[in-house]
């Protein structure tokens, strides 16, 4: 009888604790490291959340031409300097200019290109 009660208490404890364990918000940050580290820079961390507060999806994904698949756009610093991709805004006019290397190249070395979470989320299930 005592063991049964203990098991029940464990289950109850799990019910109380589990929601806290999976409560982290997902940011959908994009790691861009197709070329960065090969060229001696840290990977780029693109915060989706920061940008969508300011712009609708289609501004970047239609007007500027960012693909909806990480690593598929072929972004280079050359193109950014010429006003393409990030450089369409990060030109010192709409947003701070691309001279602030650290602001974007702020990732931990070794990260692979991809969306954090992707369409497969952190929980509660696999998807």
């Amino acid at each position: 009888m005592k063991r049964v009660i203990k098991t029940r208490r464990l289950v109850l404890l799990a019910i109380i604790v589990l929601p806290f364990a999976v409560a982290w918000a997902e940011y959908a940050d994009v790691v861009i490291n197709m070329q960065a580290e090969d060229k001696g820079m840290s990977p780029v961390i693109f915060p989706h959340w920061f940008h969508r507060v300011r712009f609708q999806c289609s501004v970047c994904h239609v007007d500027i031409g960012f693909k909806t698949k990480a690593g598929a756009s072929g972004i280079t610093m050359d193109k950014i300097s010429q006003g393409q991709y990030c450089g369409a805004c990060h030109n010192g006019e709409i947003a701070w200019s691309a001279e602030n290397c650290d602001f974007c190249h702020s990732g931990t070395p070794g990260l692979e290109t991809g969306v954090e979470g992707g369409h497969k989320t952190a929980g509660p299930g696999y998807y």
Partner: protein, 184 residues
């Protein structure tokens, strides 16, 4: 107090705690997110997610922000173009998708999507604007096609079944299938 009522009390407490806990929103700081390099000088200058997101309409899953509500409540006004001078064409119809085995039908609201993006975001690349013209399946969505391009990490996750499968099967006339339903 008997043992039974103690358990009952515990269960009540657990339920009462678990529900708000699911709605609780915890924001990882940049230096704890396993992505940013703590030694990078930008960490400490870049905005923290909690500062921007904790004040927006709450959601129980994914980003923990209800982005559609955030716009509707006027908390944010994301620009429709780089220089803010090119408003997006608005389209307010619902599409009911009936090929859902025995699950509730899917209702796709154009409006909620259109408030966030222009038509070209989906048409004619991800979705053809033809009635019953898209071979959408959950399998392909879970593999990141169709709705799964955004719904996951960026828009509310695919574990939120009922938010799309929201129409009871006997609530829609048989004549409506894959149909564009105009709003009154």
């Amino acid at each position: 107090m008997t043992r039974y009522s103690t358990l009952k009390l515990l269960l009540l407490l657990a339920t009462a705690t678990a529900i708000p806990a699911t709605l609780a929103r915890d924001w990882k700081a940049l230096e704890e997110d396993d992505l940013h390099d703590r030694s990078n000088p930008a960490v400490g200058i870049l905005q923290e997610p909690e500062e921007a997101l904790s004040v927006l309409a709450p959601d129980s899953a994914g980003n923990k922000v209800n982005w559609v509500e955030a716009i509707r409540q006027g908390q944010i006004k994301p620009r429709a173009s780089l220089y803010g001078d090119n408003p997006v064409r608005q389209h307010d119809t619902d599409v009911v998708m009936k090929n859902t085995l025995d699950l509730p039908f899917v209702l796709f609201p154009h409006k909620a999507h259109n408030e966030w993006m222009s038509c070209e975001m989906c048409h004619e690349t991800l979705f053809r604007s033809v009635r019953d013209g898209n071979a959408i399946s959950m399998e392909r969505i879970l593999e990141g096609e169709f709705c799964g391009v955004c719904h996951g990490a960026v828009s509310f996750p695919l574990t939120e079944c009922n938010r799309c499968h929201s129409v009871l099967r006997d609530a829609v006339p048989a004549s409506i299938s894959g149909a564009v339903v105009p709003k009154e």
